[in-house]
Each structure stands twice: as C-alpha cells, then as structure tokens.
Amino acid sequence: MAKVTIPIGPQHPALKEPASFNITLDGEKIVHMTLKLGYNHRGIEKAAESRTYIQNIYLLERVCGICSHSHSSCYVQCVEDIAALEVPKRALYIRSLVGELERLHSHLLWLGVAGHEVGFDTLLMYTWRDREIVMDLLSMLTGNRVNYGINTIGGVRRDITKDQIKDILVAVDKLEEETKYYAQVATQEVTLAKRLSRVGKLSHEDAVKLGAVGPTARASNVDRDIRRDDPYAAYGEISFKVITDNHNDVYGRTLVRIGELLESYNMIRQIVKNIPDGPITVKAPRRIPVGEAVSRCEAPRGEDMHYIKSNGSDKPERVKVRAPTLANVQAVAKMLENGYLADVPIVIAAIDPCFSCTDRTTIAVKDGKKTRGLIEWKDLRKYSIEWYKKNEGIDLSKIKLQNEK
C-alpha cells in the first residue's frame, strides 16, 4: 500500500499552539514525522538587548505563561552571577517556594490536558478545579496568578507573612489528599491506564541520546534533575527525591508528574518550616559589570537555560534562552515512530509542549532560497520593508527606528 503524508497543523484543535507536523503513514501506522516550528517567533531575545536589566525581568517572564517564574529566576540568577551579588537566604527560600507552587499548577494543568486529549474530560474538570487552589495561593503571595513578578535583581519583591504560611499549609494538605486520589485514578482506572500504556515509547538510550529533559527524561529512567545536580535558590538545603520511572511511555510520564506533585508538597512544607528571617533583597547596581554567565533552572517541563553577556552598560549585549520544550521536541519524532495516528495528540501533549517558548530562531532568506548564512540587521529590515511592499502592498519605509536618522 502506498504511503500517505498527512500535514497536521499549524492550526489544529488538539494543540492550542501553532506547530506543523508532517506525518507519513503506512495504513494508520506512523512511519516518519517531521516537525516545523517558527510560526510564533516573537523576537524576545532581540527585544531584550534594547531594554535595561530591570525591564528585562518582566519581558523574559513572559517567555512562557506556565513556567514564568523559572524563566525570570534563571535570568536574575545570571545577572546576579555577573554582578557578584549575594542574595539573602530568605529571598532564596521564597524563590524556591514560588518555584514549587508553579510546579504544582503546571503538573495539575498537564494532568487535565492529558485527560482531555484522551477524551477523559472528567479528570480535566477535577484537576483544574484543584489547580485553582494553587493559583489563588500564588495570587495571594505574589499579587498575580500567571506572571508573578516576584523576582528582582538581588532578591524578591514581596515577603511572606506567618498568616500566609498557615494558608499555604492548609492548601497543601488539601491538595495532597486530592493528588493521592488522582494517583489512584491514574493507576486503577482501566480506561485511562490502558489508553496511556505502551503509547509514545522512548527508551532510556534514546532519551539520553536525544537530550530529553524533565519529566519526559525521568519517565525513561534518566535520573537527572537540576534541583539536585546543580542546586540553585534554596534547593541545596531541602531534602527531596528525584522521581523516576521505567515505563518509558505516556503512562510513565503521568506517574512521574503525580510523584513529583507529592514530592513538591513535602518540599513546600520543608521550605515554610525552615524559612530564615532577614532581608529579602540587596541593592543591585543599574550598570552590570562586563561578564557573561549561564544559569540553569528546573522548570516544571525540564531544564531551562539562560545565557547573558554583559558589556558594562545597563542593557545586556546578548540574551539567549533555551526553553525545556526545545530539548524535548527532538524526542517526539522518536516517540511517534511505529505508533498510531490516533496517538499523535496525547504523545505530543505528553512532553507538555510550549511552542511559543520554543520559537527562538529565524531563518535567513536570501533571493527566495533558504540559506544558513548570517544576515545583517540593516539588510533584514530592508528585506522586510521590500517584502511587505511587494506582497501586502504596505509601505513601511516611512517608519523610522528610534536610533535611525
């Protein structure tokens, strides 16, 4: 039988973000898959170069709507590293606390999305109802539900009170009880367990070879976690287990995430119990000395990495962001190989993708041909003006840039 290639995306009802998948099928079996990104490139890295270090905290926080705290933590750690600032311990504990709360809401969200992708919407309704508890906690601690804005260079912006600690503990107890129930549902509910088992297989060797990170890697028994391997914030002083699983499939990824939820509850209890007194911020200079730094954070989806190069001014010279999905997306093609077409949504959803965070590149186009060469900023602007004039009939040449004469 002839092989058929089906394009899925860039707009597809199962995925809420634009990404294009070309899937070659033999019957309903997947032979090959290619992924095309680049529909949502937002130019954040370039924008960061024309903003000050303080403005960039809020810009880089908006790289992702779910791991917003991980991105801003990663960024401020880089800047603090270059400026050799010693962040107070209380601030580090608050960063870890918000980081763990973020993990809770991200994993609960994923559990709901996974339920939705396999047609088990009851699970979606219940997990998202419980997720509201975490969102309310975050709103109470930081002032917002999504872009928390808690980090600043040299510490955190808001302190926590004893009353808030009591509220956190009450909410954590309630959530732990609910999560234990979801753990039972995931392992005992036959429709869910059988639908997720043996779907999206990724062997240990492939996970290591393709550089998978986070729960995707840990579900293939790769014992890797930045919180333990390269401790940041207050993770060096908290005892916790890194959850791994050897199912190597979507079921394993579900178990890892539920296990991480249960582990996070214990970590939050430890953080609020051991939080030291003292200041929450140190004074940071506006001009950061010359230097460069790389910082890593364990976002709910996996390892997040930022690189910053400073030239001594109040604006960074280069900001580079590697979101966790970019590391995991390579593994999706392997997971889908020899799978079935019906499994595509859940396998893609199993890495908890975030394509807007991943779109970090532009492809230079010269004379209608894709080239790998570099293109100057001036030429790129000229090209875009000509392109719009020719294809859309819009003349943008009258718009002058701030630094353009």
Binding site: S139, Q188, E189
Partner: protein
C-alpha cells in the same frame, strides 16, 4: 487493582456540592492585598525624578511637569517667582503590564498599586488616563 469507573463516586458526590465556579460579574471575590491593579499617584510626593518612566518595561507611564514656569519681568533681572514643580502622571492602561515595577522604583512612594482591575473599554482613547 484495575477497575473501570474509578471516578463515578466522586462525580455523583459532586451533584450534592456547591458549584466550584462563582457568578463573576454579580459576585466579586476580593482581590488579595498584594494585587497589582490600576496605579494611584500622589502628586504631592512626586519630585519628578522619572525613575518610574525609566524602569517601566512597556513605556506606559509618563510624568509631566504641569507647574507654572518662572516669571520673568525684565531681561537679565532675577525672576520674581521661582518655577513651580508640580507633576502629573499619565498612564496608558492598555500598554501597562501591571508589574508595579514603578511602585518599587519610586523612592518617594508617590505611586501605589490599587486593587482596581476592571479597566476594559471599547474606546482606545479612554485608556490613556491621568492618574
């Protein structure tokens, strides 16, 4: 033990519970104390350093001097009245990120984040407001 219908009991119990959602426009939940809503400006405290303008990630805030200029009577003579320093803050509500960095940057505590968040408007011009 694997068995079907693991969530049935929970679903049936939910029939007898109050809804998890609230009827938003009619019932309003109070926002937390740290909520970052519309800004409030204390004119008497502002010294016009414009640090809030410098730190704003989206250039949403503008501080303008609305005081009287120095009164000149004759050429070369000393002004009778020195220039009055009185500042006004104009915020683009549609540009604002509600990060409240300006509140942190202000050394004189002339800015404050309130709990007001229902700021939507159909008219774009109405979103540029004097606070």
């Amino acid at each position: 033990m694997i068995r079907p219908g693991r969530m049935f009991l929970k679903v049936i119990c939910s029939f007898f519970k109050k809804p998890a959602t609230s009827m938003y426009p009619f019932i309003k939940i109070e926002k937390p104390a740290k909520f970052r809503g519309k800004l409030k400006f204390y004119q008497e405290r502002c010294i016009g350093c414009k640090l809030c303008m410098k730190d704003c990630p989206s250039n949403a805030i503008t501080i303008v001097n609305v005081g009287q200029p120095a009164a000149q009577n004759a050429a070369g003579a000393e002004p009778q009245k020195p220039a009055e320093k009185k500042f006004e803050a104009i915020v683009d509500l549609d540009k604002c990120l509600y990060c409240a960095q300006c509140v942190d940057s202000c050394m004189k505590k002339a800015l404050e984040a309130t709990r007001e968040f229902e700021l939507a408007s159909l008219d774009h011009k109405k979103l540029k407001v004097k606070i």
